[in-house]
């Protein structure tokens, strides 16, 4: 079954490697130094929390742009959204996931 998957992919795909395509990640920075260094496990939790609020910003921008058109309902809706996320932050904080070491 696994080999079948490989075979199907090999038959179907187009193979055009370009310099940009063969780098390990298509986004993000090029690594500096050895890539086998170990990260502290706490890093992942902080990174996850960061991503949550990063995505929140993505939702906040269109809301801010259309703030006048959306009116009171939009404002209340967004406050509830932010409130839920803050509750999540509070939970992470109280659970001690933000303590560094």
């Amino acid at each position: 079954m696994v080999l079948g998957g490989f075979a199907a992919a090999w038959l179907l795909r187009r193979d055009h490697p370009t310099p940009l395509k063969v780098i390990p990640y298509e986004c993000g920075e090029e690594t500096v130094g050895r890539t086998w260094v170990q990260f502290h496990i706490g890093y992942y939790v902080v990174a996850l929390v960061f991503v949550v609020f990063d995505v929140e910003a993505v939702f906040l921008v269109p809301w801010a742009v259309a703030f006048k058109e959306l009116g009171v309902a939009g404002f209340i809706g967004m406050m509830i959204f932010i409130g839920i996320l803050l509750l999540g932050l509070l939970w992470v904080w109280k659970k001690g996931a933000l303590e560094w070491l």
């Binding site: 309902a73 809706g77 839920i84 509750l87 999540g88 509070l90 939970w91 109280k94 659970k95």
Partner: protein
């Protein structure tokens, strides 16, 4: 419709979300009140259940993302009852006691919220979002006992398999979007009717069937089920085998009935094969299991096969869909009941091996009798719920002249009787090593009582359930 009216349409979901957030906050802010958390969660679920009759008016909300129709309401009731029972089981399951209970019950509530959105979703994006919400909570709950390697292994296998299958589902959904230009299920149906059958449409159907087949543990996408069921905390095994499956069936029904009209693409032969394979393989492998959780895992694969009989026939006879729904309701009570007794035994013996069930009837007469009732009901013997469910499935097959399906189902029931009765024999006829009585915690007594009541009521007095299920409109 205005924004406020949309919100009014999802009142029960909002109430449950508030309950989940409340439980989460209490867990973080007042860690000492941890013993109250499960009860607050159960109270939230009960309030939501009580709200459902007030919010059952048929409507389409959020520009067609969600629909509230009899099918969705019925599935919401199934979902909430099963999550309530699972919460009761969790309170007394020994390995879970005092082990991050706040997080556990928060996840359980969010699982229920996801499930409620899932069964009403009428838009592929909404289906996917709700499916992921349910799945993510389920992965985490499966791996909740992180200090037990088997629990982590189960979660990892479940997660990897689930990630693959939801990827395939998305692939199918995107092909469907490419073909039809819309993500609304009824819009897809119109476009498919106009364009007719094509290879891409078939590919979309197969890929989406894989994604949903994973959720209901349909063969050949069942490989995760036995390992995940065995390693997960037992209440979560009950949750995966009932609530998660019911959610999968809700989406499967909606996608097949609404988005793929038979005149464009006849999916019945394909589903017929999957249904037959699912019940046969589940039953045959269950015969050789020595662990009760694995046995119930394979049995639940087979049971999903029986429900699929009703789904296969839903376009051929008006009895198809109601019979599948009745079987699901019966299955909810008997399967959760069986797991409740498994928890009683594992609390006392710390084991899930069937050989340790020997002589159980002397040590725990009531629990053994209950387990015997549930297993007999799963076999399909009157006057219990499982019999009524099977009876209507058989009636549907006869009505649709699908005699082969009836024969295969009959043979399967006989095979199933063999392994269900093996457990009953171990409890009643074999001599055990010890005579020491086994006690049952109060929440477990309640759960066993409720499931026993459900099993008997559906078996003896099925008319109200039949009337309700028969009122389900076929085309939704």
């Amino acid at each position: 419709m205005s924004y406020a009216e949309y919100l009014a349409a999802i009142g029960p979901e909002i109430a449950l979300t508030i309950a989940a957030l409340l439980v989460m906050s209490i867990d973080a802010l007042w860690p000492r009140s941890v013993r109250a958390i499960p009860w607050i969660g159960i109270a939230g679920l009960l309030v939501t259940l009580a709200m459902l009759p007030m919010f059952r008016a048929e409507r389409v909300a959020f520009s067609g993302l969600l629909v509230i129709d009899p099918l969705a309401v019925l599935f919401k009731v199934i979902a909430l009852i099963s999550v309530i029972l699972v919460a009761l089981l969790s309170i007394s399951h020994r390995p879970l006691r005092g082990f991050h209970e706040g997080e556990y019950h928060t996840l359980l509530l969010f699982f229920a919220v996801g499930l409620m959105f899932l069964v009403g979703a009428a838009h592929l994006l909404m289906i996917y979002l709700a499916l992921e919400m349910v799945s993510l909570a389920a992965y985490l709950l499966t791996g909740h006992l992180k200090l037990d390697p088997r629990s982590s292994e189960a979660a990892l296998k479940y997660y990897l398999f689930g990630a693959l299958c939801s990827g395939l589902f998305l692939y199918g959904a995107s092909i469907l979007f490419g073909l039809t230009g819309t993500l609304h299920l009824d819009g897809i149906a119109e476009a498919v009717r106009a364009s007719g059958l094509s290879a891409a449409l078939l590919a979309a159907l197969v890929l989406m069937l894989i994604g949903l087949g994973f959720k209901i543990a349909m063969v050949p996408f069942h490989l995760w089920a036995p390992d995940a069921y065995e390693g997960a905390p037992t209440p979560i095994t009950a949750l995966l085998s009932v609530a998660s499956k019911a959610g999968g069936f809700a989406v499967l029904l909606r996608v097949l009935a609404v988005a793929f009209p038979l005149e464009a693409l006849d999916w019945q032969p394909m589903l017929w094969v999957l249904c037959v394979v699912t019940m046969s393989l589940g039953n045959v492998i269950a015969v050789r299991q020595g662990n009760i959780k694995r046995l119930l895992a394979y049995s639940s694969i087979a049971q999903a096969g029986y429900v699929l009989v009703g789904v296969v026939l839903m376009r051929q006879t008006p009895a198809g869909l109601p019979s599948a729904m009745i079987y699901l309701i019966a299955y909810l009570f008997m399967n959760i009941g069986a797991f409740a007794v498994v928890i009683v035994v594992s609390n006392a013996l710390g084991s899930d091996k069937i050989e340790d069930y020997r002589g159980l009837a002397r040590r725990a007469p009531l629990a053994s009798a209950s387990l015997a009732v549930f297993l007999v009901s799963l076999t399909g013997i009157p006057p219990l719920a499982g019999f009524i469910g099977k009876f209507y499935l058989f009636a549907a097959t006869i009505d649709a002249h699908a005699y082969w399906l009836a024969v295969i189902m009959g043979v399967n029931s006989v095979v199933a009787a063999f392994y269900y009765f093996r457990v009953v024999r171990a409890m009643y006829l074999d001599a055990g090593k010890s005579e020491e009585p086994i006690g049952t915690a109060r929440p477990l007594q309640v759960a066993v009582g409720v499931t026993l009541l459900g099993t008997f009521v559906i078996g003896v007095w099925p008319q109200p359930f039949l009337l309700f299920a028969a009122a389900l409109p076929l085309g939704f």
